[in-house]
């Protein structure tokens, strides 16, 4: 398998997505789940797997996800997409036209029963199928938490590799949108990062979403794929039209820098980029990393980056930042020039009218960067 490393030229070659404000929330400590990889510095320029000229389309995130699902259903006759309201296209239009093209036996609605949707998906995947289950909002994934944690994650392990549900992919829109309130805004990814046996993947843009989703579906392990719902329409980008995957457990350096490392994922990277732009006027050079896969995460890349910069800030969505902080403090202790810091949502339930106070905004991140640099 070819090891992929990314050139920073690649990042500038794709036109950057257009974003608006982005949200972040909460923090929980999670155990360390690393994956051993070869030594790699963020400085190396690498050969890119992407050919110079690719045919692309300017589309938004839900269209990119839709394309990925079309590709999977096309290429694998034993793949299925199911969930609440996916038939007509889904509440976020991610499953548009799938039922018309592939039929009701492969793209079908389920009743309102999250626990059963995932349980059913585990069973279907165990028979060697690609089961792509949709949970309508990540806030509703909790009835299914038992199935994911106790069944999906442990099946291969406890059966001594006799059985597995690797073909299962659970997709759920997550994250704040500005007016979602308590139950349409949560970022529950950290709950799943405690669980060995599954993977948690979060894309930041349309082209990332298509590649990562294709990789997640084809990965032989159960994957929980959170999609930043705020970006479904808002993020527009040139997305390659063909079938391509992006590697899992491989973080990407979005911006090279020398003073401080910022790690994040999903919609919140847009705000982090804005913060980086603002502090660059003060002469602070930030290295911005998109983790992409939360578990198992690319420890080596982050460690290399922190070894270079000496500072780490994780203005994270959903609390997995605690694990990153603990792990990096352990491995890069002598190199650190400032305490590892995090900027998260407040320790309250996701509020209704107070959302602007709750979120880790650009200014909060800028303040944290300055505090770290001036420590």
């Amino acid at each position: 398998m070819v090891r992929r490393r990314f050139s920073f030229g690649l990042v500038s070659r794709l036109s950057s997505p257009i974003y608006g404000r982005s949200p972040c929330s909460g923090g929980i400590w999670t155990p360390c789940l690393g994956q051993k990889r070869s030594f790699m510095t963020a400085k190396d320029l690498v050969e890119s797997e992407e050919p110079e000229k690719k045919v692309t389309n300017r589309i938004n995130m839900f269209s990119a996800i839709n394309q990925a699902l079309h590709t999977v259903l096309d290429s694998d006759p034993k793949s299925y997409v199911f969930g609440e309201d996916v038939g007509f296209g889904g509440v976020f239009r991610c499953t548009t036209a799938l039922r018309d093209k592939f039929g009701r036996h492969r793209v079908f609605n389920t009743p309102l029963c999250e626990q059963a949707i995932v349980g059913f998906g585990i069973g279907l995947a165990s028979m060697g199928n690609r089961a792509i289950a949709e949970i309508q909002f990540a806030d509703y994934i909790f009835p299914a938490l038992d199935q994911i944690v106790n069944e999906a994650a442990k099946y291969r392990y406890r059966s001594g590799n006799l059985f597995n549900c690797g073909g299962l992919t659970v997709r759920a829109p997550y994250g704040a949108v500005g007016h979602g309130g308590h139950y349409h805004s949560q970022s529950p990814e950290a709950f799943f990062c405690h669980v060995p046996g599954i993977k948690v993947v979060i894309p930041r843009s349309p082209s990332q979403a298509k590649g990562l989703l294709l990789a997640s579906i084809r990965d032989p392990n159960p994957v929980v794929f959170f999609e930043p719902k705020w970006l479904y329409r808002l993020a527009v980008e040139e997305v390659p039209v063909d079938d391509y995957t992006l590697p899992l457990s491989s973080a990407e350096v979005m911006r090279k820098g020398s003073d401080i490392t910022l790690v994040g994922w999903g919609a919140q990277l847009a705000i982090m980029e804005e913060a980086c732009d603002e502090v660059s006027k003060l002469g602070i050079s930030c290295e911005l990393i998109d983790l992409r896969t939360l578990i198992p995460w690319d420890k080596e890349l982050v460690e290399d980056s922190v070894n270079k910069t000496g500072r780490l800030l994780a203005p994270v969505t959903g609390g997995f930042g605690a694990e990153i902080a603990a792990s990096i403090t352990n491995s890069c202790f002598l190199r650190l020039q400032a305490p590892v810091s995090r900027v998260c949502g407040l320790d309250t339930p996701f509020p209704l009218v107070f959302e602007p106070f709750y979120m880790p905004t650009k200014n909060k991140i800028v303040d944290a960067i300055k505090a770290s640099v001036n420590f």
């Binding site: 923090g27 029963c113 930042g321 949502g345 407040l346 339930p349 009218v353 107070f354």
Partner: protein
């Protein structure tokens, strides 16, 4: 598609024997998925032969009015059902009319407020289902517990909440019933035992079982009505709650407001069995016409008696309909025909039927009712204006009541430096 269309025409032809001319007949000509939805209203037209559009009532000498309940109650594991005739009087009728009209006007006002972005977030409107909320109050007292899901504006108003509190809460203002922190889906009324307002589908039955247990333990002569929708009928926790309630003989009325659509999914597409009152072989049930406030009232009376006589839980299915879509982001017409919605408004509107009885029994003139409507509209508009002027909750509310006050706890952000708030 073609095959199902011709089958539909045959079925429709069979049904149309003996039916009155109804605006719904033209619904049969509609193409696409809407055809089957016509059956919803057609069943009622077949049973009632127009009695619903012209309700039968009789005034006695004492001034009491006997109103007929045209649609028969469907019973499950019950020997006898409620009476098909209910007795009422002028005062009650005018109150019922006013209460339902207030809910209707409030929902229409909420619709406009949402569209002008004064209400953000989510807004699930109750218009069309007023008979359930007002009918419930005919039988239950404020000492009985009521808990419902997110379509709670009507239940809140029925439980004695004011329109001003409702609009304030919808707009997130401090004067709202939950201090503006709950919003549309989380309305509460402590004194009148309205336990909310719950966002997650299927959550209310087990919660209701707990409330009912509390009432039984304290030997209160009260019941709990746990309300949920047809979408929640397939949630696992409902099954668990049913078993608990029956096993422990709890005074729990499991009320299902069946408006036939779980968001955009019609009941026959999501459920093997489209009725709910008879799903459980060990819990009796009753199905009532949820657009008839008197039918709902009688059904609730029977359910309350059943529970208080120690016979355990009972299911009440109210066959109702919502005119708006699932929420404000749903136009409500992509999965059902406009003709069906129109037909419901014309043939089964709960307020219209009460208006007809009032007019028929000459309890008020048309002009008086129109004046009453105007007055209600004016009051609702006033409440809305007042709510718009009200303040948002202050910043201290952001951290208040996460835990109990005076816990000596300090809320911080994760960094413990920048945000540090003593919880008062």
């Amino acid at each position: 598609m073609n095959g199902s269309k011709s089958m539909l025409k045959l079925a429709a032809a069979a049904l149309s024997k003996g039916l009155q001319e109804s605006p719904l007949k033209s619904g049969l000509a509609e193409k696409g998925n809407f055809c089957r939805t016509v059956f919803l209203t057609r069943r009622y037209s077949a049973e009632c032969s127009g009695k619903e559009t012209n309700p039968t009532s009789k005034k006695s000498d004492s001034g009491e009015i006997d109103v007929e309940i045209p649609v028969k109650f469907d019973l499950h594991l019950l020997e006898s059902g409620p009476s098909q005739v209910t007795t009422t009087n002028k005062e009650e009728l005018m109150k019922i009319y006013t209460d339902m009209q207030i809910i209707r006007r409030a929902e229409i006002a909420a619709d406009m407020l949402f569209k002008s972005q004064m209400i953000r977030g989510f807004c699930h409107l109750y218009d069309g289902q007023e008979a359930v909320s007002v009918g419930l109050e005919r039988a239950l007292s404020y000492d009985d517990n009521v808990i419902t899901a997110y379509r709670d504006h009507g239940i809140f108003l029925g439980r004695g909440g004011t329109v001003f509190e409702l609009f304030s809460e919808l707009m997130g203002k401090r004067t709202g019933c939950a201090l503006g922190k709950g919003g549309s889906m989380h309305l509460y009324h402590r004194e009148h035992n309205f336990w909310g307002g719950w966002g997650i589908v299927g959550t209310t039955p087990p919660l209701g079982a707990g409330l009912a247990f509390g009432q039984k333990y304290e030997k209160k002569p009260n019941v709990t009505a746990a309300i949920y929708g047809d979408g929640a009928g397939n949630q696992g926790q409902l099954f668990e709650a049913q078993n608990l309630a029956a096993l422990w003989n709890l005074p729990l009325i499991l009320v299902i407001e069946n408006n036939h659509f779980g968001m955009g999914t019609a009941e026959w597409r999501s459920s093997k069995k489209t009725t709910h009152y008879d799903r459980v072989s060990y819990i009796p049930g009753i199905k009532t016409d949820g657009m008839d406030v008197f039918a709902v009232g009688e059904a609730f009376k029977l359910c309350k008696e059943h529970c208080l006589s120690g016979k355990g839980p009972i299911t009440l299915e109210a066959d109702t309909y919502r005119y708006h879509g699932h929420s404000m982001s749903d136009p409500g017409s992509t999965y059902r025909s406009r003709q069906e919605i129109q037909g419901m408004r014309q043939e089964r509107d709960p307020i219209e039927r009460v208006r007809k009885i009032i007019l028929k029994e000459e309890l008020a003139t048309n002009e008086e009712l129109k004046d009453l409507d105007k007055q209600i509209r004016h009051e609702v508009d006033e409440a809305s204006a007042k709510a718009r002027e009200a303040e948002f909750p202050g910043e201290e509310e952001l951290f208040a009541n996460i835990y109990k006050a005076d816990s000596g706890l300090i809320v911080t952000g994760c960094d413990r430096k920048h945000s540090k708030v003593q919880m008062s």
